[in-house]
Assembly symmetry: C2
Homo-oligomer: 178 residues x 2
């Protein structure tokens, strides 16, 4: 059910997908879905929450210099996001369709992730490795740039994942370099 909801939400948007469609994709009638979820909102919220919790659980800053930490972050971010383009899409596009309480939870998780990148940038700034006039702005700019890879990358295209990650890392490294 979750896989079907994920696919349909990503393709058509949460508001445009009906419980009937999800049921058809699963191969049951709509009523049967309510054995597994209290409502459609919970389906969306749990997809987003689990996605962000996995993102946070999957990566910790290595015990290394800021530049090495940043490279690790960039390469992990790209790999993780390219592995889950549909979840990434939903987690960004469907924020408006969360109830206020659910939105607050998701925003908190997103903030936790941003804080990790900002901590790296601040450490590198203080160590003199980076020249970043504003670490918060740089955090937002870099995450937007990196996450954008999911909008254009296609498997089997001109560049493979390693090449893409290498080029992004090159741009990030130069952008924040002292």
């Amino acid at each position: 059910m979750r896989a079907a909801a994920l696919r349909l939400f990503a393709r058509h948007g949460f508001a445009a997908v009906s419980m009937r469609q999800i049921a058809a994709e699963v191969g049951v009638q709509a009523g049967a879905l309510y054995l597994y979820t209290p409502d459609k909102q919970a389906l969306l919220f749990e997809l987003m929450r689990d996605h962000l919790e996995e993102l946070l659980a999957d990566w910790r800053a290595p015990d290394a210099a800021p530049v090495a930490q940043l490279e690790d972050f960039v390469r992990h971010h790209i790999r993780f996001h390219l592995d889950r383009p549909e979840l990434v899409f939903i987690a960004y596009m469907e924020l408006r369709n969360l109830t206020p309480e659910n939105f607050a939870v998701i925003e908190g998780l997103r903030r936790d992730y941003e804080d990790r990148l900002e901590a790296i940038l601040r450490a590198g700034q203080q160590a003199g490795d980076f020249a970043v006039p504003d670490t918060k702005l740089a955090t937002m700019a870099l995450i937007a740039m990196l996450t954008g890879v999911t909008t254009w990358y296609r498997e089997g295209g001109r560049l493979d994942r390693a090449a893409v990650a290498g080029i992004y890392w090159d741009m990030v490294r130069k952008a924040v370099a002292a």
Copy 2:
């Protein structure tokens, strides 16, 4: 009507907004809207098309060196997007809700805009001013980074527009520098 639709689509999403809501915002009954638009889809399409056409009409590359062209592009892009956060949001988020024919038109306009940035990067690469391993990737990365400013910038915040544009330009300049 267009202003009301813009506001509501940006806040709740195209699929979640009803013609009745738009009518209420305008101060008429739903039926009256059909004097001005054939249907809800046209309302969305025209908002997006006019937005992108204005983006294209509003900027031409100045007759200057690639670095100066790039700076002009970056500052214009940020100014234009910060002036229209709702249109920017819709033009990206609601692509899925366009009919295939309308989607093709919007995609063409978007491509035209990307091509302008890519032309600058290619010229700078050939002139030896830039070191960009892949101009298409760099184009997508830079546009994602710059457009992301609309997701966090708030008027009256810690940084004003000029400061924000300056910091973004600094990151862009360094990211593509030879």
